[in-house]
């Protein structure tokens, strides 16, 4: 009964506790839910509320902020919030922005300096969906926009189990649900009756490595990146660590490079050197070149 009641009450979005829960999550993780999307937050909270038998959002908020179980409960709630966000080609608008705006910009600037190589980094690659997506996208462009260019993709994670899975490159229907039949055929081969495995060609585009984003000694050496993708990783870091990681990302990126975070993540009070840029349907953070002054961009 308690579970049912909690779930029912969780749908009562007028409860001001949800706004408070939203603000706690934003403060701690940088993940923001506008008021119109509170229903999403409520449904994620409902699962955690059932799990801890909280009878109302207010009771759950108390649990979320009380010393002792605060960190653990926040981590579990963030897991709920970001669940289901890893499948290939999850953000088509992001791919379109890369194809139509970002890559043309970067290619133009780099070729003016005589460079013909791109460096991408999927930081916190989990089980590999993101780097394989990038690899497929770049391979598809290699005869078109990227003719004459080479590229490498670095994919890192802290978790050994995730990395092993990523290297194996075996995926089921969920991970491949937005991957077209054409790309499946080209870059995957059957593994068993339910799963496909990435071809050696696709795998060879990616270098997997275990990197702790808090490890200064490793982070310092990852220079010269054009694009960094770090989706729903920093949300688990405290403010100090976040700032440190962003400091690294800023120096890891080449001027004019872009950083992509999860779709609801924000860098407010974490780092103000990046410019938030809106593309059709997607958001990126841009590192302006040295000497860039605002205004005058088309």
């Amino acid at each position: 009964m308690g579970v049912v009641k909690a779930a029912r009450e969780s749908e009562d979005l007028r409860d001001p506790a949800y706004l408070k829960i939203r603000d706690v999550i934003y403060q701690v993780s940088g993940i923001y839910q506008p008021e119109e999307k509170l229903y999403l937050l409520a449904s994620r909270c409902a699962r955690r509320m059932s799990a801890v038998s909280a009878k109302s959002p207010a009771e759950y908020l108390e649990r979320l902020t009380a010393r002792g179980n605060r960190e653990e409960e926040l981590r579990l709630l963030l897991n709920e919030i970001t669940i289901g966000e890893t499948y290939m080609f999850r953000s088509q608008p992001q791919i379109e922005a890369l194809r139509n705006v970002i890559l043309p910009q970067i290619l133009k600037a780099k070729s003016a300096m005589g460079f013909k190589r791109l460096h991408l980094w999927s930081a916190g690659c989990s089980t590999g969906e993101e780097p394989y997506t990038l690899a497929m996208f770049l391979l598809e462009e290699s005869e078109k926009m990227l003719a004459g260019w080479t590229f490498d993709i670095l994919a890192t994670d802290l978790n050994d189990r995730s990395l092993t899975a990523a290297k194996a490159g075996i995926y089921g229907e969920y991970a491949l649900r937005s991957t077209s039949p054409l790309l499946r055929k080209k870059y995957f081969r059957p593994y068993d009756d339910k799963q496909l495995q990435a071809t050696d060609q696709l795998k060879s585009m990616i270098r997997f490595d275990r990197v702790n984003l808090n490890d200064d000694s490793k982070m310092t050496f990852l220079k010269g990146m054009d694009l960094i993708f770090c989706c729903n990783v920093l949300i688990y870091f405290d403010l100090g660590s976040k700032r440190k990681v962003m400091q690294h990302f800023h120096s890891n990126l080449l001027p004019g490079g872009y950083l992509f975070l999860g779709h609801a993540e924000s860098l407010y009070q974490v780092d103000d050197r990046f410019h938030l840029v809106h593309f059709p349907g997607a958001i990126g953070y841009w590192k302006p070149p040295v000497g860039y002054t605002s205004g005058g961009k088309p």
Binding site: I102, P104, P280, S294
Partner: protein, 295 residues
């Protein structure tokens, strides 16, 4: 095709006045908009709205949409009260303007155009409230009318304007860029002619003229406010119905710098949160716009 010169279309714009029924409603309406709200006669507005079935239907649909938080608005009078006078006037104006373009003349299709205009109106109002601009309904009106020049171009040089839109669509470029190249002038310039001719309020006319200016925007805070709303709409499914290859960098846009000059507190504003708040409202805005413009 030889590029049209702005001067060549000026007489055509002035001729728009002769179109039946339009100025008869537009002129008193814009005059009304300039009155202080306590001098506007509610009964007169209700009468005007009731007089026209299409406009009344639009008002009812909008008043019943979740964006305005009402669910059971059944009479024109309660719709007028729910929406507020200024917004009613804006809807009237929008509907009147809609009628000046005969169905076979549309270059950009009518639903796309009004989705963008009403979308921009709603985002401008939302943004005005978020940043503390004192007259959100004025922002709404300016957002609704900012692309008036597109109607002018549609009527004054239909075929050339169609080609211009086609070129923009194929090249993924901004419409005003394509206009510069193919027409020799933009909807900002042609819109200004009509706005002045119809005696629109000066600040709204400024928005119509300057909303695509990237350097040193002129006028008050309304111009940068609507400029940013227009950009947001175009990267959020409320644009001109085609993919524009662009990135909108608020912090790097001179319009943002101008707004910060007017509202210094904005310098410390959480820009990501502001845009995510606007993004959050976007779904409902699309729903309202579709409720109004899709049969």
């Amino acid at each position: 095709m030889s590029p049209h010169k702005l001067e060549e279309i000026r007489p055509q714009v002035k001729a728009l006045e002769a179109m039946p029924a339009v100025p008869a409603i537009v002129l008193p309406l814009t005059a009304m908009l300039q009155l202080p709200s306590d001098q506007v006669d509610v009964d007169k507005v209700v009468e005007l709205v009731s007089y026209d079935g299409t406009i009344a239907a639009h008002c009812l649909r909008m008043a019943n949409s979740p964006l305005f938080g009402r669910g059971n608005t059944e009479t024109v009078r309660s719709a007028v009260l729910a929406l507020g006078l200024k917004r009613i006037e804006a809807i009237l104006l929008g509907c009147c303007l809609n009628r000046i373009v005969p169905p076979d003349k549309w270059a950009l299709d009518a639903v796309t155009f009004w989705r963008h205009s009403l979308g921009c109106a709603l985002v401008s109002r939302k943004m005005a409230k978020l940043i503390g601009y004192p007259d959100p309904e004025k922002a709404y009106l300016a957002g609704l009318l900012h692309d008036l020049g597109i109607l002018v171009n549609t009527l004054a040089c239909t075929e050339d304007f169609r080609r211009c839109i086609q070129a923009a669509r194929e090249g993924h470029v901004a419409l005003h860029r394509s206009e510069e190249e193919h027409l020799g002038f933009t909807h900002c310039q042609s819109g200004k002619i009509l706005a002045e001719h119809w005696h629109f309020p000066a600040d709204v006319t400024e928005v119509i003229e300057f909303h695509h200016d990237v350097v040193a925007p002129r006028g008050g805070p309304l111009v940068p406010l609507v400029r940013l709303s227009d950009l947001l709409c175009r990267v959020r499914d409320l644009g001109y119905g085609y993919y524009e290859a662009m990135g909108v960098d608020f912090a790097g846009d001179s319009a943002w710098a101008t707004l910060v000059e007017h509202y210094p507190a904005l310098a410390n504003m959480d820009l990501a949160r502001l845009t995510m708040d606007v993004d959050g409202a976007m779904g409902e805005i699309v729903a309202v716009v579709d409720a109004v413009f899709k049969p």
